[in-house]
Symmetry: C2
Subunit: 360 residues, 2 copies
């Protein structure tokens, strides 16, 4: 068996022991005689799986009782519509645009009401997080929206924006469970699981109960109404049950690793190795303002496109996979999610050193 260091931005590396367990249980989940893939989502065994997954997530994030946890299909992209359809009672929302995903969410919201771009970092290719301490938040805004960690550009909100009392909605797809979080500061925290948690095909939505209402925009599909799923504990229709099962295993793994405090420490250590190298390298450099650097996604460049391409190719040959930057920005990007071991980052830096020596 071969295993590479996989720096993909998502779908992304998963803990090896989770994969091993899934392989072992594939034909017979704990003596049931069935794969989890084959099980009725209304059966007793799956009921245990989904409830345990939810409880473990609640434990990890200290999710208060007045928040629901929803396991939904459609990806993060579907939330771009679902959020305004469910939350835009006044048909006004404020968006802070710090990257492509925030921009897409902002554009989608324009279909449903007045979406205001109250801040943006597009002027400098989204390489920083704007000062959000005193933004012109709209009087009648139904919510203020952020993308907390910008997967493509490698920036992260180190401080939440001052929403002046308005509900905060955050896309945390690429920083989910990477560090402790104060859930009470948000109305909705959501993210696709395919980066830091599990296989693609599911989004987890953590939503404060008062935001779950029947009073949605006219024409909102039943399936795009949070209440539908909240009332049925994510079993209104058939969920992505195998994904819930794998995510559940990752939650157990995170608990065993020491929870989100421990993950934060580990992630800071990993990121420091890479950023320190970038800051001292004469060939490579990071593209993001230091204060706003993400612990999860680290974009970097040599400044020479051919050299970038050569690097990605040679790294791949050395077992360092998926280092190419997003197709919209080029260069390189190393995504170093929870499941990326320290040794993976060390191997990457060692390879970069060698490449620098050979190519400078």
């Amino acid at each position: 068996m071969r295993r590479v260091y996989n720096f993909s931005a998502g779908p992304a590396v998963l803990p090896e022991e989770v994969l091993q367990e899934a392989a072992d249980e594939m034909l017979d989940y704990r003596g049931s005689g069935m794969s989890v893939m084959e099980m009725s989502h209304r059966g007793e065994i799956f009921d245990g799986i989904i409830k345990e997954a939810e409880q473990d997530l609640r434990d990890l994030m200290h999710i208060p009782d007045n928040y629901k946890v929803l396991f939904l299909q459609g990806g993060a992209s579907q939330q771009f519509a679902m959020i305004p359809m469910n939350l835009m009672k006044n048909k006004v929302a404020d968006y802070i645009v710090t990257g492509q995903w925030a921009k897409k969410a902002y554009q989608e919201a324009q279909k449903y009401g007045k979406a205001n771009k109250i801040a943006s970092s597009e002027d400098k290719t989204f390489s920083y997080i704007p000062d959000c301490s005193d933004l012109p938040v709209s009087e009648d805004a139904d919510y203020v929206y952020i993308c907390e960690n910008n997967t493509i550009y490698g920036t992260k909100f180190k401080e939440l924006p001052n929403t002046k009392g308005k509900t905060l909605v955050a896309d945390v797809s690429s920083c989910f469970l990477s560090e402790p979080v104060d859930v009470t500061k948000y109305g909705i925290i959501y993210g696709g699981v395919q980066k830091n948690i599990g296989p693609a095909g599911m989004v987890i939505v953590i939503i404060r109960e008062d935001l779950i209402t029947e009073d949605v925009l006219p024409g909102t599909p039943t399936m795009l109404t949070y209440k539908t799923h909240a009332d049925n504990n994510s079993l209104y229709n058939t969920p992505n049950s195998y994904c819930i099962y794998i995510c559940g295993k990752v939650f157990k793994w995170l608990k065993k690793m020491g929870g989100l405090e421990a993950m934060k420490e580990r992630n800071e250590k990993k990121a420091a190795i890479l950023y320190d190298f970038l800051d001292n390298s004469r060939l490579f450099h990071g593209t993001v303002e230091k204060k706003d650097r993400s612990l999860m996604n680290v974009p970097f460049v040599t400044g020479n496109k051919e050299l970038d391409a050569k690097f990605v190719k040679e790294a791949k040959a050395a077992g360092l996979e998926n280092l190419k930057g997003h197709r919209s920005v080029g260069g390189m990007r190393a995504s170093i999610y929870n499941a990326m071991p320290l040794e993976g980052v060390e191997a990457l830096v060692a390879f970069m050193k060698k490449f620098e020596e050979e190519n400078l």
Copy 2:
């Protein structure tokens, strides 16, 4: 390792060799050093997986070039909204209501325009398929909708309705790939894969190209617009990539088994064993009109609720799982999808015989 005979209506039994292959490839897909769960959906390897899956499905169903194949999230339930949002140009559609799923689709469509119930079998608990040779199809209907195989009630359209020239839209969730189909007779064929094809979390939509337009109802989310996904070959956003991979393996298995002609023969043989027994049993009987019997879902009862419960319990103890009927109808239901081996049906009938002897 234990394996039971699993009669679940969905998620449901999968071919054992598919599960075995998935287990073997879990940590290292063919020397890539990654699980398919961990792979970028924009990478070369996954590109091969999704293209091969689509081509194999096209081969199996003889899908003409002027139809697109879409791999979407949200389940069949999300299609209940997506169909009217995309197809209701005149805001009129005709629904044939033959079960709970058709009824839900019909109810959802009422949000978006005039949905007419042009036929129904609700008068006799959906135990038959109405005569659809000369229905009052609306002059300006954008489409006529059916649920071709009714999972809960065990009925199947043996002949397609006469739509009088209107576009036919069919939910084939529980009969997908169970027999050959003439795709050209439909505008849309769609189904959740979690019954006859793969793990839950995906719907396959086979749609004639002229039905894919930008002219959708106002407020239709980008993610609920067929064109979004058609233009991006199902990669507008991250798809349920692991599910696509497993479905691809099932397509290969179906080809190896001899394709849909061979599956039909096999399914007819399996169903005959069960229906013949039911017709001759003094304890058990089927609940569906003979001419409309499904090859996939076989509901039956003893006529005594306690005896039904006893049967389900004892069958479970004997390794015959998930025989309880749908919570809305009670009794028993044996789903005998493609992956249920002949031996499974034989074992069920043998157990029913024994139970009859002991309880009559």
